[in-house]
């Protein structure tokens, strides 16, 4: 048999030969709605946490779609959506110098300070 098959996708065997294109094509379809990132508060007392993304024509539809897609089993009590294009992120590489200064400031951590053993409640 030919060798260009894989089951890596988790749902069964599919071909992987050179005839199967993988890279995003430069002329992407413009039909699609804007991409929204979705954040869900799992329960009262917790922060909203990023859970994924979806496409929707506007903010209100994005909330409805997020409800159906990400909370089918009581996964949350509150949803935030925000257009992906509106997110400003720190940097492409999370290891860049932006986070270096916090490594230098060990005095911001309680363990920096030596307190005698016999001092209670500290």
């Amino acid at each position: 048999m030919s060798t260009d098959l894989t089951a890596e996708g988790g749902h069964g065997a599919v071909p992987t030969g050179p005839e199967v294109p993988t890279a995003p094509s430069p002329s992407v379809s413009r039909r699609d709605w804007p991409l929204y990132e979705v954040f869900v508060r799992g329960k009262r007392g917790l922060n909203h946490v990023h859970v994924g993304s979806l496409h929707a024509p506007d903010d209100e539809m994005a909330v409805h779609a997020a409800r159906d897609l990400y909370t089918r089993r009581n996964e949350g009590v509150s949803i935030w959506v925000v257009k992906a294009a509106d997110i400003t992120a720190s940097s492409p590489d999370e290891k860049d110098p932006m986070f270096a200064p916090s490594g230098d400031k060990v005095y911001r951590h309680p363990t920096f300070y030596e307190i005698p053993e016999n001092v209670p409640h500290m």
Binding site: T6, H11, V14, T16, P21, V28, D32
Partner: protein
């Protein structure tokens, strides 16, 4: 609009060797690669291909069982099946979402599926001839999918691993509802029991093929395992599935259609007969029982519902705050 893509150094730039070392160190430490990290183009390409075909499989996978939505024998069974088919749609969406973090475009991936430039799992090209097929798909097909997918929860690419955690939580319901359906039928009439056995006979071998070609014929496995995208070989996962499933078949009271199936006393594992790889090859390359029907229906879903997309876009445009 696609996911925000971030600048990457051009291939061959002086920084690339350092970036490659950083990438390999992250993989070696069993840490996750995140969308904004530099990654080799081969890693990105492999992931886009794998995640896209996985997403396509979930979406096409709605069809075989969806055929029974209107014919389910009770309101309870209908509600269960509807929830299951809705989950498959959800799984497809989680996965397209993960593919987009790699710079792929969702509408573009759908186009590639419909134009047959990307593939989906061979298993969904088989027809669901009786209602027992719904149960057997849950038990065997989703059972095999779980075997494949649980290790992917530890995949080295963060968004993919997180999507798989979500998927796996929901697959357990899929498998259990299928097995319960079959147990109910096995307690029924002789005709119902025969129906279950017939469905098992038809789905057993295609389920084993879901794990892909044997290891000595799977050249991409080594690279995918080195990258932490894949955690076990095809044959390891196939054997694990057989070992899990044989005792389940015994409890159910069905016979797996393999005369060579036998317990290896020394290892405690089940030996099974030779798989007809030419069948997999045939179905994959488009000549399965339902390939044309599946694609035609996916195309119709896109085209017939285009007016909804357009109307919602027009409405959003009209009400946009300038």
């Amino acid at each position: 609009m696609s996911a925000p893509t971030l600048d990457r150094p051009a291939a061959g730039s002086p920084d690339e060797a350092a970036l490659q070392r950083q990438f390999e160190a992250t993989i070696a430490a069993d840490h996750r690669i995140e969308p904004r990290d530099w990654m080799p183009e081969g890693y990105r390409r492999t992931l886009v291909r794998q995640i896209a075909q996985h997403a396509h499989s979930e979406i096409i996978g709605m069809q075989p069982e969806g055929d029974w939505l209107l014919a389910a024998p009770s309101l309870r069974r209908k509600a269960v099946l509807l929830a299951k088919v809705q989950d498959e749609a959800g799984h497809g969406m989680y996965l397209y979402s993960a593919a987009e973090t790699l710079g792929a475009d969702r509408a573009d991936l759908t186009d590639k599926l419909i134009e047959r430039r990307q593939k989906y799992s061979s298993i969904f090209n088989y027809p669901t001839l009786t209602y027992a097929d719904v149960g057997v798909i849950g038990w065997l097909v989703d059972g095999a999918a779980i075997c494949n997918q649980v290790p992917l929860c530890r995949s080295s690419y963060g968004p993919y691993a997180r999507a798989m955690i979500r998927v796996c939580k929901e697959e357990s319901f899929h498998q259990r509802q299928g097995y319960e359906l079959l147990m109910t039928m096995m307690r029924g009439t002789p005709e119902q029991r025969a129906m279950v056995q017939d469905a098992v006979d038809r789905w057993w071998w295609p389920s084993l093929m879901m794990f892909g070609p044997p290891d000595d014929d799977s050249p991409n496995t080594a690279q995918s395992m080195a990258w932490g995208i894949k955690r076990h070989t095809n044959d390891e996962l196939r054997q694990r599935f057989v070992d899990m499933t044989v005792p389940q078949a015994q409890v159910l009271g069905v016979t797996l259609p393999d005369p060579d199936l036998a317990l290896d006393e020394s290892t405690g594992r089940w030996r099974f007969g030779a798989i007809d790889w030419s069948e997999l090859q045939r179905v994959i390359s488009g000549d399965g029982p339902c390939n044309d029907e599946r694609i035609a229906r996916r195309r119709a879903a896109r085209d017939d519902n285009a007016w909804v997309t357009e109307a919602a876009t027009a409405y959003a445009e009209k009400h946009r705050v300038h």
